[in-house]
């Protein structure tokens, strides 16, 4: 096969293979990505997000949002995170790039709401003051929406 004649095909295959290898190395080996998770939140002491346990929102729960590097989560909790306490906090010593978001009515006002089938979109603010725990001083609050 002449290389020039099949340049398109060879280039495409080579690039795709390269990307697959890089992708595998990043996600499967190095685990170089961030995980987002609903961590525990005590509504009595913190400003928490309110989540619905069902579509009709008959039962609710409180949570704070945590973003941690996956590699750190693996190191702390392994594959199964459900019973791992470390996932609920940004550990000062072990977590280098962890952010925990609490609900801020001024900044995240519309996120601090009870979402039901009837009042979808209606805002009900939480009175407590907001607070953010993070181990990286440059981290800023998230602006995108987590869908329930």
């Amino acid at each position: 096969m002449k290389f020039r004649e099949y340049f398109f095909e060879y280039s495409l295959v080579a690039l795709i293979l390269l990307v697959v290898v890089v992708g595998y190395a990043r996600f499967m080996v190095a685990r170089d990505y961030v995980v987002a998770y609903e961590a525990e939140c005590d509504a009595a002491t913190s400003s928490c997000f309110i989540g619905c346990e069902d579509d009709e929102c008959l039962s609710t729960y409180y949570y704070a949002l945590i973003e941690k590097p996956a590699a750190d989560v693996y190191a702390q909790c392994g594959k199964y995170i459900a019973d791992c306490e470390s996932i609920n906090h940004c550990l000062p010593t072990n977590d280098t790039n962890c952010v925990k978001f609490y609900c801020d009515p001024d900044i995240d006002g519309e996120l601090c709401e009870i979402i039901t089938a009837e009042n979808f979109g209606v805002v009900e603010t939480i009175p407590e003051a907001p607070s953010i725990e993070h181990t990286d001083a440059t981290t800023t609050p998230r602006e995108d929406i987590l869908h329930l």
């Binding site: 398109f8 495409l12 690039l15 595998y24 961030v34 995980v35 973003e67 995108d144």
Partner: protein, 548 residues
């Protein structure tokens, strides 16, 4: 990391809590794409078009398989790795669809420049796939990565889909305008198939993601409907193969239908919810498959037989043409020799070589008569051959049909008298003018028919009656001869047609006379036929020509 709120799948892709349509939309689409793609490729490996179709089919199948695992699996590492690769496959589908349509329409490969453009369009999707531009993280709560998808990357791959649809539409319209009517039908089939596929695939899959992003929709199930575009596209491909033998591949409609039916029934397994349904579907599938096989075999046999008959007909046609040419050639050559002999004998009879003995003169006269009969026979055969080939030219003019018939009757009086027959002529009350080749009508029609009656009448009379029948001039030749049996009647006006008894009466008959007469009458818009009560009961020949 395992998503905590979702069950782990069994056998890699089967999980609880997934939409019912998930397996029905993915698995049949994968099967159909691979079946058609591989069938075409394996039957036409040398064609670039079949290879491109295979690339599209494989990309789509891989995309569907990965998407299925994204719905059912709960390991964040593998999900993200798969997620990063998914958009590359989408871009492959877009670009290779354009490539495929181009090759289909113009039957040639694209230029290296265009390949460069294709590569440039795909480059951002490929190079940025494992980076944060594509996907930066994973949402363990919802077990997906929608939250971390790169905005520009996502819209770029959707734009590639839109570019593909518009580009393909432009190519189709341009080619439709400049090509033959036959190929236009193929363009419509292929265009509809691929545009529907791209539209459903990109629009619904993108729409699902977009509507969830803006909070209008919670349910991403709408994307599942987008996958039905592939079976639709493959149905169009199958129709093209059956009707137009596109990809130079042949497939019977029966085969395509049976396969489609089997896939349809098998896909019902994906939503069978109890053992009874599974068993019923299984039984239906086996029965359909068995009956389908029998049907395909029987249809294949019939098609084979039909093809064999067509092949034999073609070979027969060739053989006939060759035989005709040989006959023509030989007749021509023999005629040449006889004509020279005729000249020689005529010269002796006419005294060109001085006085000769009476015996010699008599022999020469007899030889001249026989040679002339031979030449006439050869001429008949040649004329018949020319008429069959359609290479006879007629010199048409208006002439008095009645007068021409009378002249022929007068010429044949001697011949009739020699056989002891009475030759009677009843002219028409008015002048019958027809338009035609006077010489050929006189020699091959009028004379031939009357002469025929004389030769096949042993005693009695031959009566020729002219009349006007509406706007037709009619000649009726009635004899008291040997008659014609119903069996002989079938072959009367055919080439070399002889009756069983007629050959005993007239051994010199070539069997071409009435065939030639019919050809000439037909060429002049007339009719000729014979009537007889049977053997020994005489014959009536009727010849009609349109009046001028």
């Amino acid at each position: 990391m395992i998503c905590p709120y979702f069950p782990e799948p069994t056998f890699f892709i089967f999980a609880e809590g997934v939409p019912e349509l998930l397996y029905y939309s993915h698995i049949p689409a994968i099967v159909v794409a691979l079946l058609v793609g591989l069938f075409v490729f394996l039957n036409a490996r040398h064609l670039l078009l079949s290879r491109l179709l295979l690339v599209i089919a494989l990309s789509f199948s891989l995309w569907c398989s990965i998407n299925l695992t994204l719905w059912t699996n709960v390991n964040s590492d593998s999900l993200l790795f798969s997620w990063s690769f998914l958009r590359i496959l989408s871009s492959l589908i877009s670009i290779f669809s354009i490539y495929f349509i181009y090759v289909f329409l113009y039957e040639k490969d694209v230029s290296p420049k265009l390949k460069g453009v294709f590569l440039a369009l795909m480059l951002p999707m490929i190079l940025l796939a494992p980076t944060d531009w594509n996907v930066a993280g994973f949402d363990l709560t919802n077990c997906d990565a929608f939250l971390f998808e790169g905005f520009w990357y996502k819209y770029y791959y959707v734009s590639l889909g839109a570019i593909a649809m518009i580009w393909i539409l432009g190519l189709l319209v341009h080619r439709y305008r400049t090509t033959t009517a036959d190929f236009r039908k193929q363009i419509v089939y292929m265009g509809l198939g691929i545009e529907l596929f791209l539209f459903l695939f990109f629009t619904l899959v993108f729409l699902a993601s977009y509507l969830i992003d803006i909070g209008l929709f919670k349910d991403s199930r709408i994307e599942l409907y987008g996958l039905f575009g592939m079976p639709i596209f493959m149905a169009f491909i199958a129709a093209l193969i059956v009707r137009f033998k596109t990809f130079n591949v042949g497939m019977l409609a029966a085969q395509a239908l049976v396969i489609a039916l089997v896939i349809l029934i098998a896909s019902m397994f994906t939503f069978a919810d109890n053992i009874y349904n599974v068993v019923l579907i299984g039984v239906t599938l086996v029965l359909t498959g068995a009956i389908g096989l029998v049907l395909i075999r029987s249809v294949k046999k019939e098609v084979k037989q039909r093809e064999l008959i067509e092949k034999q007909a073609r070979e027969l046609e060739i053989a006939n043409a060759q035989q005709e040419n040989l006959l023509h050639f030989m007749s021509h050559e023999v005629k040449g020799y006889l004509t020279k002999s005729e000249a020689g004998f005529a010269a002796i009879v006419e005294g060109d070589y001085g006085d000769v003995s009476q015996d010699l003169k008599g022999m020469a006269q007899m030889a001249l008569t026989e040679v002339r009969k031979g030449v006439s026979t050869i001429m008949d055969i040649l004329d018949a051959s020319n008429m069959k080939k359609g290479t006879v030219a007629y010199k048409k003019e208006n002439f008095d049909f009645g007068k021409t018939v009378e002249e022929s009757v007068n010429d044949l009086q001697e011949s009739a008298a020699a056989r002891g027959l009475s030759l009677q002529f009843h002219p028409a009350a008015e002048v019958l003018t027809i338009n035609g080749d006077k010489d050929k009508i006189a020699r091959h029609v009028i004379r031939n028919v009357i002469d025929n009656s004389i030769k096949y009448t042993e005693h009695g009379s031959v009566t020729i009656t002219l009349s006007k029948q509406g706007d037709l001039a009619q000649m009726l030749v009635e004899d008291t001869g040997i008659g014609i049996t119903p069996e002989d009647m079938k072959h009367l006006f055919t080439e070399g047609g002889h009756g069983k008894d007629s050959i005993k009466i007239n051994v010199h008959s070539t069997g071409y006379g009435l065939f030639i007469a019919k050809q000439i009458v037909d060429a002049h818009g007339g009719k000729i036929w014979a009537e007889s009560e049977g053997a020994g009961k005489g014959t009536r020949f009727i010849v009609q020509f349109p009046l001028s």
